[in-house]
Every structure is written in C-alpha cells, then in structure tokens.
Symmetry: D2
Subunit: 141 residues, 4 copies
C-alpha cells in the first residue's frame, strides 16, 4: 500500500464512522497525502435565525477537511487550535467545497490552511488549523 492508497483508505475509514460529517452530508472529492477536498450542500436545518447558514456549518466542513488532510499519513492527529474568517454569507442550497492544504508538518505539529468556496467559487470561509500529531497509528501493518 503506497502513501496515496493509504491516505484514501484512512479517510474512507474515518468518514464511515464519523456520524456528524455524515449528518452534514459531506462527500469526499479528492484525497492526497496531507491534502483533502470535500463538499456538502446546505440544508434548511443548518440555518440560523437570520436565515443564513449558522457559522458552525462552515466551520464543521472546514474542520472535517482539516481532519481528513492531517490524519491521512497514518498517525492520528488532533486539532489544537483553529481560526475561521467569514468573508461572505452562506445560503440554503449552497454547495460548499473545502480544500485543506498543508502549510507545514513537523514531528509533533502540523499546520493547514482550508479555503471554503460556494458553487459560484466565492470564498465563504478562510480557515487555519494547527494539529498535534500523536504517536498512535490508524492501522498496524
């Protein structure tokens, strides 16, 4: 199993057991080592009192992208710190895509930028996450 196959296998395994990502309707678009691209569609039950998507929806998508990118080398990674800026509002039925790109990967810590865009390619979330890379492995080989 090469790095690419391993990355895909790990993310399939992660999402299968991830109840909240499945409630969100997250689908995998592309996985590479240290990278993920995922998407979802905004439903009525995801809106806040202003009739736009709750900030937690955009965050949750970005946070799942972070998890799928930072875990897929094989070592379990946990988020320490995350930040999200909201450049534009998200509406019902918007189709959101999140792309997580590795900025750095040290022995203990990884840093990832995640950009969330809507179906018109407008940026709706600019996210950064810092993860702690544990020594635990997903699979024993």
């Amino acid at each position: 199993m090469n790095e690419q196959e391993k990355a895909e296998k790990i993310v399939r395994h992660m999402i299968e057991k991830d109840e909240f990502s499945r409630w969100l309707g997250i689908e995998i678009v592309e996985i590479k080592p240290g990278y993920s691209k995922i998407k979802m569609k905004v439903r009525k039950e995801m809106l806040n009192g202003f009739g736009i998507a709750h900030g937690g929806i955009t965050f949750s998508l970005a946070d799942s992208a972070l998890a799928f990118a930072s875990n897929n080398y094989g070592r379990i990674a946990v988020a320490l710190e995350t930040g999200l800026a909201f450049p534009s509002p998200v509406y019902e039925n918007d189709e959101l895509t999140a792309v997580a790109e590795e900025q750095s990967k040290g022995n203990s810590v990884g840093i990832y930028n995640v950009t969330v865009t809507n179906q018109k390619n407008v940026k709706v979330g600019i996210f950064r996450g810092t993860v702690y890379r544990t020594k635990k492995e997903f699979f024993k080989e």
Copy 2:
C-alpha cells in the same frame, strides 16, 4: 422596555428561528446585555470518527453564544472572525455550557471571549469572536 428586557426578547426571537441551534438542542441559561450563557447535551450523531464530539459541535455552541451576546443590544451583528482552541476532548452525553463575555464594543466592531466547559467544569473550548455591528435594528420601537 429596558436594556435587560430588550436583550432577553431579542435572544428569544433569535433562537426561535434558529434551526441549527435547535437541532443542537441549545437552551438559554442567562442573558444580559453583551452577555450570554447557554447549554446543550452532546448526542451520538454529533460524534466524529474517533468517537468524540466533532470540533464543529463545540464551535457551533460557542458561535451561538457569540451571536446571542453580540446581537442583544438591538443592532444586528455578524461574525467576521472566530478562533477556537480545544483544551480537552468532548464525549457523548457531555453537558456543555458556553459563556460569552464582551471584551470591547466599539461603534462598528465588538470582541467577545467565549469559554465552553463540560459538566465537570473542565474547559473544553476557548473561543474568541470579532463581530461587525451593522446599523440594522432588530425591532423598530
């Protein structure tokens, strides 16, 4: 209607129409001008693939607390930027409480710290949000 009554009325109005906060099961504990204390219980469908709460759950609770604190003066406020650190994991059936406290309120911008704790009073989320205060009012008097 004084500031306290107005704050409570606005938050009641906000949560009534906030589908996602209701899906989360958020309940209001206490509202004051520029302040909110809210709580929720973590359900199975909120867990990620590691069997702990998805980071988006803690964020969503904190983000709702931010919205309830920053909007309750009467002017509609929108989040520009948020950050969340995760000191400890959150488990199924945990009862989370979020307290949003105003750090500053200018004409256009407000800054709030939100602390999320579990039923053992362990901190599980340290959040900060910056909001833009629009000129739009909730209610015309």
Copy 3:
C-alpha cells in the same frame, strides 16, 4: 496614475513614515494591488531569552505585509484581527520574506493570508489578518 502605480506610491508613502518597520529593516520586494512581498534580516536585538527570534518579530513583519497589501487600493484599512502559527523557529541572521495575498475584499472588510519563509524557503510563520476598510483615502486626486 493606474492601480499599479497607485499601489506602489501608497506603500512608499507608508513605509517612509513607518518608524517601526524601518527599525525592523523591512524592504519592499514587490507590490501589486491587494498584494505585498517584503523582507528583513533578523538581528541580535530581535532575539528572546532562548536565543531565537522573539515571536513578535515574525508577527511584525507579517503585520506590515498585511498593512501594505490591504491599504494599497487607496482606502485606509485597519487590522481588526490577526492570527499567527509558528511552524519553525527563526534564528539570528535569518532573512525572512513575507508574502501577503488577498483572500477576499468586501466593501467594509478584507481578509489576507501572509506566509513568512526564511532564506531556505522553510515556512516560519502562517498568518491571517482581517482588516476594516475605512472610507478615508490616502490621496485626494
């Protein structure tokens, strides 16, 4: 004066009067509308008690890059919120380069990612800033 000339003129004007950026030894490498690339060299007086660069040095360089990118359309912009992750330490005599890239620009708010690298092209700072775009102009034409 086209947008490019205006951007360059504004940044020249800004840095000329910016005492702290000059103490840091910041030099302009490239300016484009909504973009800046700047550099500096780390001196002994910029180190902390561990003998590496104080975190404030990397931040200051990134924050100057944010200012030069977000102000160069002509409207004065002020930072509301910034975040910086530190992937690798910075040493004396390191030559740091910061590149600020616009993520979004709305009527009132702009969001910028800034990446700081050393002379070996190792990332030493991953920064994001959110600015408020005032209605004040640099130059009256």
Copy 4:
C-alpha cells in the same frame, strides 16, 4: 524553592537574556505560576506610518506575557499558535499592561488568554496563545 519562588526565578532569568523584550522596555509587575503581568511604555520608534503603535508592538508585549506565564512552571514551552484582536488604537507614550491568565494546562499543551490595556484601562489587545510544553527543564535541581 517553592512554586512561587521558582516561577519568579525563571522569569527573571528569561527576561535578563531576552534582548527584544528589553528593547521594548518590558518590566515585570507580577508573576505567579501560570500567570504574568508585565508593562511597557510606547516610544516614537514603535509607531507605524499612521502615527499609532505598530500592531507588532501590542503583539510582542502579549507574546512576552504568554512566554513568562507558560514557562514559569519550569518546563520550556514554545508558542504554536497565537491570535490578537485590536479593539482600540495605541498611541505614543501610552503605558500598556498585559496580563496572561492560564485557561488550561495539559501534559503537552497549554492555553492562555492575554489582555492588554492602556493607562486609562481601555482594552487595546485581546490575545490568545497555545503553547507546546517540551520535556526540557530550565533548571536542574
């Protein structure tokens, strides 16, 4: 040497060798385990092109407060991630005070809020930092 004496000794040791904190003119006001209160005065050479303090000055003070609070148990701690919001501008001759308060301390990670105020007790910086706690000790006993 009890925890309090150890905390004070470590911070004295840190600041003595911290060239940049000394350039800033930082003075220790109070040290407790996991806590620091420090101050400085803003000089002309710390201003930016708008004639107010460069954002890097407020950040540097907050970052020093973070370092003095998170290192003073004896284990060396390094900042992973920091965030700073700017509620109000800082002017020449302002006297700034930063207070760092521990939010959580785990085996590997600590989280601190730092509030920076001016001489009128107006908040001018709301900062949060996440540190990695190494296994290295300051002093061998």
